[in-house]
Amino acid sequence: MAERLEVLKTYKTYVGGKFPRSESDRTYRVTNPKGTHIANACRCTRKDLRDAVVAARTAFGDWSNRSAYNRGQVLYRIAEMLEGRKEQFVKELELAGVKEKDARVEVHTAIDRLIYFAGWTDKISQVFGTVNPVASAHFNFSSPEATGVVGIIAPDKNPLLSAISMIAPVIASGNTCIIVSSETNPLPAVSFGEVLHASDVPGGVINILTGYRSEMVDSLSSHKDVNAIFNSIEEPETRKLIDENASISVKRTSHYSPDDWFAVEHENPYLVLEFMETKTTWHPVGF
């Protein structure tokens, strides 16, 4: 019996709920650690980035206005969809040279991490909001709300888990994001886009780009319609570039480069707070 020829997937980007190719039509070779070619990925440009920011900004109003309960359900739905397709992700990680057992742990941890942050959406303002006992006859309360559009720069390590660990706390509070995926292995991130598409995440809430970081970080961190950068790249030049660019529009930056993405410490609400603003409201009290 002749062996069946496998149908290979074309990996595209995920922007605004659609799967466009890079406007440049350029791709780059993705290989496993042995150098074997495993796929071609889009080599996104600053123009793709620009489009992704527009998509994220457009989605922000609706996503941040949804009830916290609804956002929690959507995050949970992503986890459900990922669970259903976990074999695909295990296989994709294996393709890139990860042992089957390790790949399975990564996928499981990623699913559980989504569940963890799904549970925070409707608790964050309870735990971190305050009623402030001001001395005058006013009712005064503070609650955190989403900061806006967040640019995420993901590491190469544990490409699925690290991406999800960075996306989940950002979108849980109502932010939308653009993620620059792992450069060496962007395939799980792109496939994650397919999971998102099948779940109930509105288009534009999560936008996934692939390509050379060096061609995107500058534009992303200087873009004035991006409110914050969540960066995992430890390299001092990259961090400095991001910080300097951030000062153009007083952008918030958070540098986060853990050695171990599996550690339970990454499940923490302070990561959600990093991308929230505190709004304080005053009102007189009287007849």
């Binding site: 005058s136 006859a137 006013h138 007189p284 009290v285 009287g286 007849f287």
Partner: protein, 302 residues
């Protein structure tokens, strides 16, 4: 002058109490010193409706009151007399006689003061009686129960009828703001009274606590201001009850000055309904003029 359209009193003009209190508190920080203080003390004295409204009032008491009204402090004859005395209708004739030859007006409460719980014809008779006795000014009370029920047309019509009964006497309408409770009600009652023909609006009878307060007065002054803008007609203001100290009186004058301006700073447009305020003003005036702090023992109690 065109006749302004009468507003729909079912509509409430929103007022924020805390904001009003903050405004009053800021106005209270005006520091009145030196010449401006003496000027204001004398002005306040000239704006007093020197009042006795007791069940035990008698002719003798009223005659003494009138004597104080025309000459508040004999050692200083140049001081102004008060604006008016305020008495019950059956004391009007006595007061009128005692004040003959002076410019001190006689004001009379009427309309079943202080509760106003009587039928309209009784209130009108009460009013006509006081006017017949010689009252220059009538201080009527509104029917607070009807007001709180939302029966605004009743209030309006009653005031208009009393106004008619007043003839040439000036009508002051007492809102009894202590029973209206909210500043929005105070504003609404002020507007009804002014559109129905009040010459003055007045806070209180003095029989209910709280009587006059500065936030209530500010809201009424603002109603007068808006009514003036709307109709071109000036209406007077009289806080009454609870104002005992000269310092408070000056604070009220600041409220008037910075809300309505100089035109209202005359006894024609602003009055204090008070009894013990007269002596405190006198003590402060004498202190300002002599530099010596005063004792109440040196001032007659009438």
């Amino acid at each position: 002058m065109s006749i302004a359209e009468i507003p729909d009193f079912k509509q409430t003009i929103p007022i924020d109490k805390i904001g009003v209190e903050e405004r009053v508190s800021r106005l209270n920080k005006r520091s009145i010193k030196k010449e401006s203080k003496l000027q204001a003390l004398k002005l306040a004295l000239s704006m007093i409706d020197h009042t006795t409204l007791e069940g035990k009032d008698s002719e003798g008491k009223v005659i003494q009151l009138c004597s104080k009204a025309r000459t508040p402090y004999a050692p200083m004859p140049h001081l102004p007399h008060v604006a008016a005395v305020c008495v019950y209708p059956n004391m009007v004739a006595t007061a009128k006689k005692a004040l003959k030859g002076t410019n001190v007006k006689v004001a009379s409460v009427a309309t079943a003061f202080p509760s106003g719980m009587a039928q309209l014809h009784i209130k009108l008779d009460d009013t006509r009686f006081a006017v017949d006795q010689g009252a220059d000014e009538i201080d009527m009370v509104i029917s607070r129960g009807e007001f709180l029920k939302g029966n605004y047309s009743f209030i309006f019509d009653e005031i208009a009828a009393v106004k008619e009964a007043c003839g040439s006497a000036h009508l002051k309408v007492i809102l009894e703001t202590g029973e209206l409770e909210t500043l929005e009600n105070v504003r609404k009652a002020s507007d009804i009274a002014m559109y129905a023909g009040a010459d003055f609006i007045k806070t209180s009878t003095g029989k209910i606590s709280p009587a006059a307060t500065q936030p209530v007065t500010l809201v009424m002054l603002e109603a007068i201001r808006d009514f003036y803008i709307e109709t071109g007609t000036m209406v007077g203001m009289k806080p009454a009850g609870g104002i005992r100290k000269a310092k408070e009186a000056l604070q009220y004058l600041v409220l008037v000055k910075e809300t309505l301006g100089a035109a209202w700073l005359t006894p024609e447009w602003f009055r204090f309904g008070a009894s013990s305020l007269t002596n405190d003003l006198l003590m402060q005036i004498v202190k300002q003029e002599t530099g010596v702090y005063q004792s109440i023992d040196y001032f007659s109690n009438d």
